[in-house]
C-alpha cells in the first residue's frame, strides 16, 4: 500500500500542500485551516515539518472511535472517517499521538486525511518533492541511494 511519505529536509514551507488539500476538501477555498495536512514552521529554530496522517497499521483513532465511524479503505489503505457517523466526541483526536486529526467546529465532526481516494493532492502540489506517495520500501531504497551518493562523493575525495 502506498502512503504519503515526508522528508523534512526538503520542505520549504510553501504551503501548496495545505492549499491544495483545503481545496480538495471544500471544493471552493484554499484556507489552510481547512486542510488535513499541516505545515509546522519554526522560523527562529530554522525548522519546518509537514505532518499528515500516517494511516497506522494499528490505528488508535479507529480502535477508540465509539461510533465506528473510522474504518480502513480496502483499496487505498486509508484510515477514513465517515462524517455521517462521526458523533463529534473527539476521542480520535485524543488518541492520535501525532495531532493529525483536527476538529471541524462548523460541521462538528473530526477530519483527517483520506488520501484523496488514492491520488493525494498534497503530493501532486509538493513542488519541493518533500512529499511523495509511495510504497514504504521504495522510500527506503531512495534513502539508500541518497546515502550512496554521499559516500561516493566522500570516497572520491580520499
Amino acid at each position: 500500500m502506498k502512503t504519503v511519505t515526508i522528508d523534512p529536509k526538503k520542505c520549504v514551507g510553501c504551503r501548496n500542500c495545505e492549499m491544495s488539500c483545503a481545496y480538495a476538501q471544500t471544493g471552493e477555498d484554499c484556507i489552510r485551516t481547512h486542510a488535513n495536512i499541516r505545515v509546522n514552521n519554526y522560523s527562529d529554530d530554522r525548522f519546518v515539518l509537514p505532518m499528515t496522517c500516517f494511516h497506522c497499521e494499528e490505528a488508535w483513532c479507529m480502535n477508540v472511535c465509539p461510533a465506528n465511524a473510522i474504518s480502513r479503505n480496502g483499496e487505498t489503505g486509508a484510515v477514513m472517517i465517515d462524517q455521517t457517523k462521526c458523533a463529534g466526541c473527539k476521542m480520535c483526536i485524543l488518541a492520535c499521538p501525532f495531532g493529525n486529526i483536527h476538529f471541524d467546529h462548523v460541521a462538528l465532526v473530526s477530519r483527517k486525511c483520506d488520501l484523496c481516494g488514492g491520488d493525494p493532492q498534497c503530493v501532486k502540489h509538493c513542488i519541493a518533492e518533500a512529499l511523495n506517495f509511495e510504497e514504504i520500501d521504495d522510500l527506503a531504497e531512495r534513502k539508500r541511494i541518497g546515502i550512496d551518493e554521499r559516500v561516493k562523493m566522500l570516497a572520491k575525495k580520499q
Binding site: K9, V12, S43, I127
Partner: protein, 684 residues
C-alpha cells in the same frame, strides 16, 4: 466522456507541463504532467486553480469601448476597424513613432514577444515596451555584459553547490525547488543569500542575511577569498577571461571588516565557510541570481560581481554550473535586419543605451514622462497586452496620469484590471488553453507546442490574430502573411529540422538536443569567439561600458539606504513573491484569494515592539514619492531584520507602487529603485 490533454501552464512564466481533463467542452481539472521534465507531475496551487481562471465568469468575452456612459460592448470588426483608423490618424498627425506596443506577462507564451516587436516595427515605430525593462532584463544585462548570455534555467540537478542569491524559487519558480532538492539529495550544499528568511532559506546549509542592495560587497568579498586562498580555475582564467589583474586589485578592498560593515553579515565566519563550499564544487557551482538584485541603484554592477564568480571557478557552461543551452533555430519574427530602428529614436534609448543595445526595448518609466511632457516627441497611442502597470510600475499616480493622457489606449486582457479601466478599448484575449504556441525550456533543451484545447469564443482572439488583423487594416499586411497562429507556427519551425508532427506527437516537450558543455572551447577551436562579448572572452572588465562612461569593473557603490536618513529611517523591500499570485494577477480568483486575502507589510519584531505594533494594526508608510496604508504582519526574529519592511506588490487596495521610485535608477539598466526604498512608518 472525459479525456486528458497535455499542454503547458501559463499561470506564471515557468510553463509547467499539465494534464488538462475535459469532458466535451467542459474543463474538469488541471494536474501536473508526470512526463514533463520541468515539473515531473507537480504544480503549485495556482497551476491547478487555473481552472478557476479559465472558467471565471469575470472574464471579458466581448470587445468593450469606453463611452460617456462607461464601457459598452461592440462587435470585434468594429473594434478592429476603429483601432486601426485611430492608430493611422495618430501616426499621420504626430509621426510614426508616436505609437507603441507593450507586451505583458499574463497571456500567451514566449513567441508573443516577437510578434509584438514585429507588429510595431512593421508600422514604422521603434517603440516596443514590456515589463522586462523593470524585471528580468537587469539580470540579462548583468550576465550578458560578463559572458554574453544569461540562462534563467540553470541546471541545478548536477550542481554540487547551489547558491540562490536574492531569489525565492518556491514562490517565484516553484518547480525549481524540486530540482534544487534533487541535487541536495545527492549531497549538494545550498547557500541562500537574502535580506529575508525566505522559503528556500529554510533549507539552506548556509543562510547569509544581507542588507538590501549590499550584495556586491559580499560578491567582491567572496572573490577576494577565492583569490587569497587560491580556489581559482587558473587555466580558464588565463585562456578565457580578460581583466583578472584589475579584478584582483580591486577585490583587495573587500576585507571581512568592510564586507561586514556594508552587508551586516558575519563576514569573518561566513565568507570562509562559503569559499570552502565553492572549493568542493568549483565548476559545479550554480550561482542563481533572482530578481532581488535588480531593483537597486547599483543593481547591474552587483549582478556583474556575482557573474564574475562564475568566471573565477569556471562555472560557465559547465555540468552543474550555469549551463548555456543550445537553442533551436526558430524563425525570427523581428525586423531588425529589414528596417531601421535606432534612427527612429526609440523612447529611452539615449538615456539607457545598454538596455537598448542588449534588449532592443525601451524604458517604461521614461515612457510615462514622455507621454506627459511630449518630449522628445509626442506619444499618443499604446496597445498593451496582459500587463497591469498601474499596479506593477513604480509611482502609480504618474502611471495613471500618463495612461489617461493617451489619445488611444487599447488593452488586451482576460479580466477588467486597474489598467484596463483606463483604456479606450478593451479586447478579450484568449487564455492559455485557447491558443497554440511554442515554448522552450532552455535549460532542458526541450521545445513544447501548446495545445489549443478550446477554440476561442466569438470575438476572443489570440495575440497573433489581433495584430495580424490590425496590421492588415493599417497597410502593413505584407509582414503578416500567415493566416493564423497555426500557419505562423508552421513557418517558425521551418528551419529546425523538426516536423510539426513530431511536436504534436510530443506534447510533453520534444528534447531536441543533448547537453554539450564548455562550448566556449569548441568555439575557439572553430576559430570563433569563445564568448559573445566584444573581446570574445569572459569580461571581468568591460571596455564597452567604459566607452559609454560607466565603470569598467563591476565596482561596488553602497546603497543609499546603508546610511540612515533621519526623516526616512526604514528600508522598504518590495516584490517578495507569494505563490498563489503572479504579480498583479489572481486577486480576482476567489479560491486563490482565500489563501491570502489582503496585502500586508512585513515588519520585524524589534521594530513592532518599539512602535507598539501588532499583527493586523494599520500602518502608514511614506516615501519621498507618496503615502500608503496597509495592515502589519509582525515577523519572527530571523524572518526580517530590524529597520527593514517588506510589502508585496500587486494589490489594488494596498498598492505599494504608490510609493516606489520612478526617479531613481540603476545607471546602466535604468531599473527603478524598488527594493531599498527609504521610508518612514507610523501606526495609525
Amino acid at each position: 466522456m472525459e479525456k486528458v490533454i497535455k499542454t503547458l501552464c501559463r499561470m506564471c512564466d515557468d510553463h509547467c507541463g499539465i494534464d488538462v481533463t475535459v469532458d466535451e467542452d467542459k474543463l474538469i481539472s488541471i494536474q501536473g504532467n508526470k512526463e514533463h521534465s520541468w515539473n515531473r507531475g507537480r504544480v503549485c496551487i495556482k497551476g491547478s486553480r487555473g481552472v478557476d481562471m479559465v472558467t471565471s465568469e469575470k472574464r471579458i468575452m466581448k470587445p468593450l469601448k469606453k463611452t460617456e456612459d462607461g464601457f459598452v460592448e461592440i462587435e470585434l470588426e468594429q473594434a478592429l476597424d476603429e483601432i486601426a483608423e485611430k492608430m493611422k490618424f495618430i501616426q499621420k498627425t504626430y509621426g510614426d513613432a508616436s505609437v507603441g506596443i507593450w507586451k505583458g506577462e499574463a497571456i500567451g507564451f514566449a513567441q508573443q514577444e516577437e510578434v509584438a516587436r514585429r507588429f510595431i516595427h512593421a508600422i514604422g515605430s521603434p517603440n516596443y515596451f514590456s515589463n522586462d525593462s523593470e524585471c528580468f532584463a537587469g539580470r540579462w544585462l548583468g550576465y550578458s555584459l560578463v559572458y554574453g548570455r544569461w540562462n534563467a534555467q540553470p541546471a541545478f540537478e548536477n550542481a554540487k553547490t547551489i547558491v540562490v542569491w536574492g531569489g525565492n524559487p518556491p514562490h517565484a519558480h516553484p518547480n525549481m525547488t524540486q530540482q534544487i532538492n534533487r541535487a541536495r539529495e545527492k549531497g549538494a550544499k545550498l547557500v541562500v543569500i537574502d535580506p529575508r528568511y525566505s522559503a528556500i532559506a529554510r533549507q539552506a546549509d548556509l543562510f547569509i542575511q544581507v542588507k538590501p542592495g549590499s550584495d556586491g560587497a559580499l560578491a567582491w568579498g567572496v572573490a577576494k577569498e577565492l583569490i587569497d586562498k587560491g580556489y581559482l580555475a587558473y587555466d580558464f582564467i588565463r585562456d578565457y577571461t580578460i581583466g583578472f589583474d584589475e579584478l584582483k586589485e580591486y577585490a583587495q578592498k573587500f576585507d571581512y571588516d568592510y564586507v561586514a560593515q556594508e552587508t551586516g553579515m558575519d563576514a569573518a565566519t561566513m565568507i570562509p565557510e562559503f569559499a570552502e563550499m565553492i572549493k568542493e564544487s568549483m565548476s559545479a557551482t550554480v550561482f542563481y541570481v533572482g530578481n532581488g538584485l535588480e531593483h537597486h541603484e547599483n543593481g547591474i554592477n552587483n549582478i556583474r560581481a556575482v557573474a564574475n564568480l562564475d568566471g573565477l571557478v569556471a562555472a560557465v557552461d559547465a555540468k552543474g554550473g550555469n549551463y548555456s543551452p543550445i537553442g533551436l533555430p526558430m524563425g525570427e519574427l523581428t525586423l531588425y535586419h529589414e528596417k531601421p530602428l535606432k534612427e527612429l529614436h526609440p523612447i529611452g534609448a539615449d538615456r539607457f543605451p545598454v538596455l537598448y543595445d542588449f534588449r532592443q526595448e525601451y524604458h517604461t518609466m521614461t515612457l510615462m514622462d514622455t507621454i506627459l511632457s511630449e518630449k522628445p516627441y509626442p506619444f499618443k497611442g499604446l496597445i498593451l497586452a496582459g500587463a497591469n502597470p498601474v499596479l506593477t510600475n513604480p509611482n502609480t499616480n504618474k502611471v495613471r496620469a500618463a495612461l489617461c493622457a493617451l489619445d488611444l489606449f487599447v488593452v488586451r486582457e482576460l479580466f477588467m484590471t486597474e489598467t484596463a479601466e483606463l483604456a479606450d478599448y478593451i479586447l478579450p484575449a484568449a487564455s492559455y488553453l485557447e491558443r497554440s504556441e511554442f515554448h522552450g525550456h532552455g535549460g532542458k533543451q526541450v521545445m513544447t507546442l501548446t495545445t489549443r484545447i478550446f477554440e476561442p469564443a466569438d470575438g476572443v482572439q489570440d495575440e497573433y490574430q489581433f495584430l495580424h488583423d490590425i496590421a492588415h487594416r493599417m497597410g502593413a499586411g505584407a509582414y503578416f502573411p500567415w493566416e493564423n497562429e497555426d500557419a505562423l507556427n508552421e513557418w517558425l519551425i521551418k528551419d529546425t529540422g523538426v516536423s510539426m508532427e513530431t511536436f504534436k506527437a510530443n506534447p510533453s516537450g520534444y528534447n531536441y538536443a543533448e547537453p554539450q558543455y564548455a562550448k566556449y572551447a569548441d568555439n575557439v577551436a572553430k576559430g570563433k569567439k569563445a564568448f559573445d562579448t566584444p573581446s570574445g572572452k569572459l569580461e571581468f572588465t568591460s571596455t564597452y561600458l567604459k566607452d559609454l562612461g560607466y565603470q569598467e569593473l563591476a565596482e561596488y557603490f553602497p546603497p543609499a539606504s546603508n546610511v540612515v536618513d533621519p526623516e526616512y529611517p526604514m528600508t522598504m523591500i518590495t516584490g517578495a513573491r507569494k505563490v498563489m499570485y503572479y504579480h498583479g494577477r489572481n486577486r480576482n480568483i476567489d479560491s486563490l484569494r482565500s489563501a491570502l486575502p489582503e496585502g500586508e507589510v512585513e515588519i520585524s519584531k524589534a521594530d513592532a515592539l518599539k512602535m507598539d505594533i501588532q499583527t493586523g494594526d494599520w500602518i502608514r508608510v511614506t516615501s519621498k514619492i507618496g503615502t500608503m496604508e496597509i495592515k502589519a504582519k509582525v515577523m519572527e526574529k530571523i524572518e526580517i531584520s530590524e529597520g527593514q519592511i517588506q510589502i508585496t506588490h500587486g494589490w489594488k487596495e494596498t498598492n505599494v507602487n504608490l510609493i516606489t521610485h520612478d526617479d531613481r535608477f540603476d545607471p546602466i539598466s535604468g531599473f527603478p529603485l524598488m527594493k531599498a526604498v527609504q521610508v518612514k512608518i507610523e501606526k495609525m
